[in-house]
Symmetry: C2
Subunit: 306 residues, 2 copies
């Protein structure tokens, strides 16, 4: 009987032995060899092709975002345990000597650092909402964005499919409630089609975010009841606990209200996003088709290397 | 008479107006529109072609790295003011209530967070040295890596050419002292050729890292005297203070010694790297040839869009 932890470790060891992943000494933080990155690049191109019909505006943001925007987003209320806030050293020479002594002695030195104005992006789309809002009301028909970024979530895990730092390719829709809801429902099928086209047959499931604490239980129940979040699941290291490789989120007026994003006729805009977990999909591909992409089924290769 | 600050602000405003850069409310942290990213992608491909003769091993790392490796690298000794350490929330519900009250009240809340095991990469090559060392001694002839990553430096600035979060494309050489020195000297000319091929005629200069404090002055003088760091400079927002768009660093046995990286015959390996500042080169291109790449000189376009 294999436990989930054993299965995770076994797959991680395989990936490291094949130099697809490079260990860094921190759980959930890995470098990648050229074969792994080659597959990510090709899946990236596939997602781009699948979304081309939208004529989305491609924006790229760095992996850090404004702390103020992060605070406004209420992430510290809902998922503080996953947050990554950036601290730096702003002291003088005397403070520097203390810092070096603490590092040398293996003592805590968080107290010798200061908070900066940036945090790590928890999801690729976060900087989109305030940036779009700053450009004024949406045009009639709304806006659609093409976003790719590194995300950070503080959840060290032995599971190679649960990384602390990973890439998410997102399409983000902003507009009237009806057009946004139609769009995200449409993507549920489109997203599953993308995965099926490369040999991954996902299950779809209602889902909730990992909200913090007792209050979080209510938020999660509410999110499920209203069917605001769906995930495409694929068994990477466990069939009982399959991994979410794609997620669909309908935020209703959450981000529109917080950041003052308005529709053409001045209403609070609704927003939604679909995100592909780039490393997770790649790990699912290696799991399904084997560690050597040269030997993957011809139909899958034709989709990825057209 | 235009001050450097006025020139920086004027260029930044132009870039924002053209939606090449997207402001995020934090100095030195910008999103990029599709035209800016399109140029970065093409310059990325040009650097790849220029380095192809090396058959370098392509490794990609996430933008965070092991805090332990960061401490071992002595970055906190030499440039603590630029560091970015990642903190998160690990408390219970009571602590969470305090955190939310502090955020709500606009009070400091650094003390309610804990240090994690990761930091932001200050240069793209940092994770390379411990990762290579963990794979055992170098083969005869050493190893060469192709590295691209987001880097973070805590230096908020109004200069669009001085970002807090930016990409660096690096080649990294590890081996015997003589082969490493020859390689980095060879790249001084190759690197300048890459820039000249796209219409940027850089100056080369001996340089030093921005070491911290009084002790840092000696480190900087020593680095200059031994000619361990060179930069290719191009005037982006100022002719008096041109910007380093490419840098060459010969670390001698610094990283080899710290991380236990050995040559084939068991000596401490020497290392060196060349890094192209991707956003800086792109900003130099827009400065030199104008904000619309469609109208750049044919010879430059032919190099970037071959």
């Amino acid at each position: 009987m294999t436990t989930p932890e054993q299965a995770q470790k076994a797959y991680l060891d395989e990936l490291i032995k094949a130099r697809l992943l490079l260990p860094t000494g921190v759980a959930g933080v890995y470098g990648r060899g050229p074969v792994f990155e080659g597959v990510i690049d090709r899946f990236d191109a596939l997602v781009k092709r699948a979304g081309e019909y939208q004529r989305a505006e491609a924006w790229r943001f760095p992996p850090v975002l404004s702390r103020r925007h992060f605070e406004v987003s209420r992430y510290l209320k809902s998922m503080p345990q996953l947050a990554g806030l950036v601290h730096s050293f702003t002291g003088d020479s005397a403070a520097h000597n203390k810092l070096l002594a603490a590092v040398e002695g293996g003592e805590a030195y968080a107290g010798l650092l200061s908070m900066t104005d940036v945090v790590l992006a928890p999801a690729a789309c976060y900087p989109c909402y305030p940036t779009a809002a700053a450009q004024g009301p949406l045009p009639k028909g709304g806006r659609t964005f093409d976003i790719l970024n590194y995300c950070f979530r503080h959840e060290p895990s032995p599971d190679p499919a649960r990384l602390q730092s990973f890439r998410m390719y997102e399409y983000v829709r902003m507009g009237e409630p009806e057009e946004v809801r139609t769009w995200i429902e449409d993507w549920r099928e489109r997203g599953a089609d993308v995965l099926r086209s490369i040999g991954l047959d996902p299950d779809i499931a209602t889902a909730n975010d990992p909200f913090f604490g007792r209050g979080g239980k209510m938020l999660a129940a509410n999110q499920r009841e209203q069917q605001l979040k769906f995930e495409l699941l694929y068994p990477i290291t466990s069939t009982e606990q399959p991994t979410a490789v794609t997620s669909f989120n309908y935020h209703q007026d959450h981000f529109g209200g917080l950041f003052g994003l308005k529709t053409a006729d001045g209403q609070v805009a609704h927003t939604a996003c679909i995100g592909f977990g780039m490393e997770r999909v790649t790990l699912a591909l290696f799991k399904k088709h084997g560690l050597d992409p040269q030997r993957w089924p011809a139909a899958v290769r034709a989709k990825l290397w057209p």
